[in-house]
Amino acid sequence: MVAMATTDTTDTESAGSTTAAAPPAAANSLTARRPAIELPESRGYRVKKRILGPALTTDQLEHERLGIPTAVAVFSSDCISSSAYATEQILTVLIGAIGIAAFSLVVPITFALIVVLMFLILSYRETIKAYPTAGGAYMVTRDNFGLLPAQVAGVALLTDYILTVAVSVSAGTAALVSLVPSLGAWSVIISVGFIAIIAGGNLKGVRESGLVFAIPTYFFIGMGALLLTMGFFKWFNGDLSMLHPGMAHGHWPAGSITRHGGPGNGLLYGAALFVVLRAFASGGAAVTGVEAISNGVTAFRKPEWLNARKALFIMGGTLGTLFLGLSLLSTKVKPAVFTSGTPTVISQIAQEVFGGRNALYGAMQIATLLILVLAANTSFADFPRLASFHAGDNFMPKQLTKRGHRLVFSNGIIALAACAAGLVIVTDAKVDRLIPLYAIGVFTSFTLSQAGMTKHHWTKREPGWKHGIWINGIGAVLSFVVDIIIAVTKFTHGAWFVIILVPVMVALLVRLNRQYEAEADELEHEARAAAAAPVLRRHVVIVAVDRLDNSAARAIQYARALVPDELRAVHAAVDMRAADELAQEWTRLGLSRVPLEIVECADRRVPRSLAEVVAQELADGDTEVTVLVPQRQYRRSWHQLLHDNTSKHIVEALAGLPHANVTIVPYQLSARRATGEHAAERAAAAHHNDAEGDSEVHA
């Protein structure tokens, strides 16, 4: 008895033996533990648990409140990391068109982008204040313009989250390949590997814990600051020189991008303006990620919106400084842009500034790699959450609202990883092929959310609304203009794909929404009246019996527990001889007085015959029919393949009949311990004979 009370139920052996113990004494028969019924976990779940760790309970869903330094680390990696490739993307476009003169245009274009960044940050200051709880373009747009524009903003953002992952991971791989050139052949595999690792980490539910984020982010910021300081120091001392001296005389390094067409530094001939705009559009990638803070205001310490605003400024300042500094240094170092993507521009600058491929250079590359991987990681937090908003509004499959094993939106994470990996494979992990797709989505959502904010100010007229209208109005117009510039200048380079994709996706989501709404309408229509409808007069229970075995016996036992008005077993006679034998056995065993009906089944369609029997019972319109289908539960999935799935077909055949209900009565094969029936048998045996009961349990 003592052993029984202290036995741990999770231990299967000891739990089994408790059932064999002597019947409990009357005194504490109420407190004594009942014979334990095991609930074995499926193999799939055990594997999942081994990989992901134990499931998190829902009450563990809490948000860590972040201080400003940690918050900057958590939210700004996406934004700040773009400085690692933005200058290179501007140069890629410019050098291809105007050769060495490119370096005189980098800084003005960088300035233009920093102006855009400034306005976006000013605009987002307003958003953070107005929507401190659930910010983000989707919510702002939905609140001010309704569901349909919100879908546009949301889909545009979702596409960009996918691209953020693809671009960041590809750029991170490029940083790695710059450091270790021999890895160049493996860049696609390395990129996909990074995506898999990040997705795995997120499925495991990597908390947004500060340290994990703080180290790489501040490492990169620190290395960037060191690079800029040393670079400018050397520059003023006259120690900084061109990396490829031959470039001044038209000798470009092998494998680098050179100017198409003839010589000359003609800045403003031909399609020069178009080229400048396209370079600007490519650099627009730098500005992406600004929205991250407005999505996560709730994670800040109180007062949330004030802290978020400060973090926004720190982030913008850091990005602006790094971006501008790198662009300035590039005018002096004049790095080549290689068609293979490596060595990257930033690595060439680092090589020159740090005086060769030394430890500092290596540290810079590692820092770049880490922050880029981290930037990809922020998408893994944002994409699933945004997708869950869509799904919550019935615009995306409901599965996306489900939190998985580790309290994260597992389906969203898997979807994002799959899309990003596909994109990386298609583009061969080349950043310059991904960039044309990038930034359109994000600027579309900027435009919509800033316009939404303008409308918000106009309708709410809170204090300072005139000021707000100006800021958000300019922000909206500016974002729109940038969006148009990106769409037009990069249309033929791949932007067309996004421009087509977004409306198609929105149409798809709207269609999905119609379906969900129609279903909900039908389900909810007069649900109250349906619940109050009178119960039908008669209840007939039919047990579908194939042969007389344990699974059928189990179903009959259950059927008797239902206490119906009429109960009978039905056998569809495919083989008349088998039916005869069944009938004889049935008569002999006298199974609890349950009659057996043998139904003709000349065409061997068992489900159809059963459906006919049920339809016969339903004919009076005042009968509820329950069909019990014994179903064998196989312990291994391949065991299932050894049998036909008649029970499933029976369920399908009866699905359409009103007031016909199908209940599966499971019978666990080769898992005797699992069924209550056998537990009861065991217990009974134990009562009679301890030793015998014991041996049966362990058998």
Binding site: M576, A583, G590, E597, V599, A602
Partner: protein, 121 residues
Amino acid sequence: MTFLQRWRERGADQCWPHDEETSAATNPVLRMTARAVPIAETQLRTPVVVTGKVTSVRVQPRAGVPTLDATIVDETGRLVVTFLGRRHIGGIEPGRKIVVEGVIGDARGRAQMLNPIYRLL
């Protein structure tokens, strides 16, 4: 009944017209079937002859009251034929055609013929 119909319903070995079968005067089964009416046209509490196919047979286990229920179906309807005191009757099984003669009663809203005279066809 045309040859083709007989062939369809009884199978090849039974469809040839034999003398004793064809003559209603000498064959009691044929005398019975000749009087059969469609199930839909039967009336309660009057002696009637019905012919049709057994579509299902209900077997009562030993513990219960010995009863055998068979459902007979023709083109017009269905009828439950109940043999009290029997658990099993050779030949009365799903798919067989039989002819029964008896009185139809109302058993809780369903037509039921108790202990009829029957012949297997």
